[in-house]
Structures are given as structure tokens and as C-alpha cells.
């Protein structure tokens, strides 16, 4: 799963060329089961956003969190945490870039989870040698 969260690894239909993230096993456009791994673009446009005051278990230390609906450059839409920008500065249509961040720490196991978030500035690109 780390590829999915670190590299925004989705897939592309070999038959009709449609992109998907999270990856699918059956193409949603043409029904083909032949798909190949494909990294999604790391830039997108902000379509909607919210300031979340109630935290999920494991995220209490990050309250309040900003989440947005982002349309990536290839048309795929995802929901992602928005970082590095105050809530009041958000506007529909803003261009955002994927950044690699800690998502949460599991207090009990000590495990740290990382993944993509989106912010106003271009972030360090994660390559497979980093992980």
C-alpha cells in the first residue's frame, strides 16, 4: 500500500486509456480487466474544501484539519488533506501540488504512516530509493 500513498500510484486502462486512483481492477469506463500501474500527476486544482473540527481517532493532535477535493491534472478527483496554507486563503480553482508528509503516528505500535497531502508549493518528489 505504500506505493499508493507515497507515489499516488493508481492505474490506467490498457484498452481505453482511462486513469484511476485509487486503482481499480475493472475499468469503470469500458469494463476491461487489463490495467497497468500508473502514477498520478502530482498537481491539481482545488474544487472544494472544508475545515474539520472533529478529529478521527489517531488524529486528535492535528485538529483542526483542512481537507479538499482536488482534481488532478489528468481529471482524476481525490480527497486530500490540504497543508501549508491558512484556511481563509483557500479559493476554488487554486493550483496545488502533492507533498510527502507524515499522516499519523500510531501511539501503541510506534508505527508512523506517511502519504500524500496537497499544498500551494511544489514538494520534494519521492522516488523508490527514498522508501
Amino acid at each position: 500500500m505504500r506505493d499508493r500513498y507515497y507515489r499516488i500510484l493508481g492505474d490506467r486502462c490498457l484498452k481505453c486509456g482511462a486513469d484511476f486512483f485509487p486503482p481499480v481492477n475493472i475499468c469503470r469506463k469500458c469494463g476491461s480487466m487489463e490495467l497497468e500501474d500508473r502514477e498520478m500527476p502530482r498537481t491539481g486544482t482545488l474544487l472544494s474544501f472544508t475545515l474539520q473540527k472533529e478529529s478521527l481517532f489517531g488524529f486528535e493532535d492535528q485538529e483542526p484539519m483542512i481537507f479538499g477535493l482536488v482534481r488532478l491534472a489528468n481529471g482524476v478527483k481525490i480527497v486530500s488533506q490540504i497543508v501549508d496554507i491558512p484556511y481563509e486563503a483557500l479559493r476554488e480553482g487554486m493550483k496545488l501540488h502533492a507533498v510527502f508528509r507524515r499522516v499519523r503516528s500510531d501511539g501503541e505500535s510506534g508505527q508512523i504512516f506517511y502519504g500524500y497531502k496537497f499544498g500551494p508549493k511544489r514538494g520534494k518528489q519521492v522516488t523508490s530509493s527514498d522508501t
Binding site: P22, S48, T50, L56, G58, Q62, V79, F113, K117
Partner: protein, 378 residues
Amino acid sequence: MTKVGDHWNRSITELCFDAASKVLSSAPTNPEALIVANAYSELTSSQAALGPQVSDALELSSCDALKVESAGASGGAALHVAYNLIRSGQVRSALVVGVEKMRDMDPARLVMAQGLSENSEASQFFGVSFASMNALLARLYMKHFGVDRERLSAFPALAHRNSASADHAQFKRKFSAEEVSRSEIVSDPLRVLDCAPVGDGAACLLLTNGEDINSQAKKPIVEILASETCSGRVNFFDRDDPFHFQSTDLATRRALKKSGLPLESIDFFEVHDAYSISTALIMEAIGLSRRGHACLDAASGKFDISGKHPTSTFGGMKARGYPVGAAGVYQVCEAFLQLTRNAGANQVPRAVRGLTHSMSGIDATAFVHILSSAGGAG
């Protein structure tokens, strides 16, 4: 139905007893099936397999017993299963018990539980709450259709007007649209009063095939004319039209077709109004409002008990309350009260046919039932 609220001292099976005892003691014979509707027992009570747990507690040990889970639509789903078990001839009678016990959950775990209907790898992994998913849709809807904050508050205001006189409701306080708009932010633009509260509760129904039940039993007084369902894309943003609740739309069309009734002949609607924004989209998908107009219609009184299409007549999820897995069963109990002229101050005049709508996620799946008082099948 138990009152929706805090039931600190009652366990899940005890809540089931509280809801079922009167029904069981007045039933001529024990039901042959027990269908338990519940969403979160594994999390709230470390309890799975509620079918035998509840049948054991209700002294129904030899019946067919199973739990049906479909997050917020568990109640509608359980009813759908019971209905079909009877229609197929497998059993002659079924007890449907919806139950949820959520009030003693730690708040952060509760928020996590509420989001279980969303895609966990894409959403929950990052800490998105269910309210936030609804909020993202709300912002899009408000911008696209020019619906302002005050207008969005019309549905919660309606719900609280109705619950004020409902005995089993969790909240009986009325709130004006303005008070709804000014309540604390949960996930902007959604406020506390845009979102259903957290409550414990249990509701129970006895279904029979109306034929081979004991001849001393009362005649069936409410009939289920249709039990239909439809599912679709889980994420609203994966849909061609994020403002079209297709599962709700198709389940409604199927139910109306099955019952042979036009929408106009339905006298009241109990819908899954857990969030103001989803209520608007539900009403538009059912066909009671034009696209983008549901909030305006609510503000104008169209959905009041005295209005053209009475909706959430006891306050719905928003004000009567939302014990998640039990909600769909509460709706049918309320429809039963309406159709048997036992709704008291909440009575819809001349109510002969009702529609209940039980939904999970943001229209991931919907179960629609059409009920009529006996002889009201049209």
C-alpha cells in the same frame, strides 16, 4: 421504539428487549425469523453475530437469526431481508429489531465509526470525517445552485419543529434557521445543527405473511407494498453528476413501480435526513423538488406536516435522532403510527400511504419501502 438518547445502563441485547417486549407479548406465536439491524456492535460492544445473541436474549432460540449491516441503511436492509424471507415462503413471520448503542464511545472513535461507510483507504487513512465528506459536497452544491447558508438550514429547522411533539425523540427543542446557521462549525460550512446527533436506541417491527398466522391474531393493519434497493458509486466525486443521488432515485422508482403507485399518491416521507445537504439531494432524487430547489421548498413549508409532502414527520434522523443501525426501523415504526392514526400531534391528515428511505454513506446505497394502511393499495 425506545426513546432515542442515553441508555447507559442497557446493553445492546437489553435495548432489543426494551423495544421488542410489547410486540412479543402480544404476538400470537413466536416469529420464525429474527433480523437484527445494527451498524457498529463490533466497535461499541465488542460483539459480533448479533442474530443469535439477540434471539437468545429474547427467548427465540430456534428461529432463523441473523444480523444485517449496511451502515446507516442497516434498518432498511434488515427490513428488505425480512420482507423477502416472507415473500419467498421461507418463513411466515419475522421480527425486525434495529439497535445501536453509541453514546459511550470515545468521541474520536465515534468520528471514525461514522466514517466507516466511506472508502477507508482513500479517506479514513488520511483522517477525513464523514461530516467533512458531506461538507465538501455542500460547498459544491451551495455554489452551483446559489443556495446560501440560511437556506441550507431549512431542513434542520423543519426536523426540530416536528420532533417537538414526538415522545420518542431525542431532541424536542425547536431551532430557527438562523440558530442552525449560527451553531458551532463541525466541518465548514456544516454546523452542529446540520448534522444528526449521536444517540442510543432500539426499534422493533413484526412482519407476517398475513395468511397463515394464527387466526386469533388481529388482521394486518399496515401492508408493505414494495421493498426495493439500489447501490452506486461510493464516492460522490466519482459520479458523473455529484448532485444526483442515483441510488435513492432508482430505489424510489423501483418501489413506486412495484407498488403500482405514482409519487403524488404518497402521503408522507420518512427520509434519511442525517445531514442538511444530503436531505436536499434526497428530496431532489425522490422527485419532490427540482434540482437545487429542495432547501427553498423546505423553507416555504412544502415539507411541513401541513404541507404538500410531509417529511420526517417525527423529526427524522436530525431531531428524532439517529441510532445508526436502528434508524431505518424507527422510520417504519413511525410510518406505522401515521398509517394507524396513532401519530398524535404529528399526525399527517388522511395518511394512507407512506414511503421510507434508508441510506448509507452519501447515497452509496438506498432502501425504499412503500407502506399503506390495509386497503390503501390503490
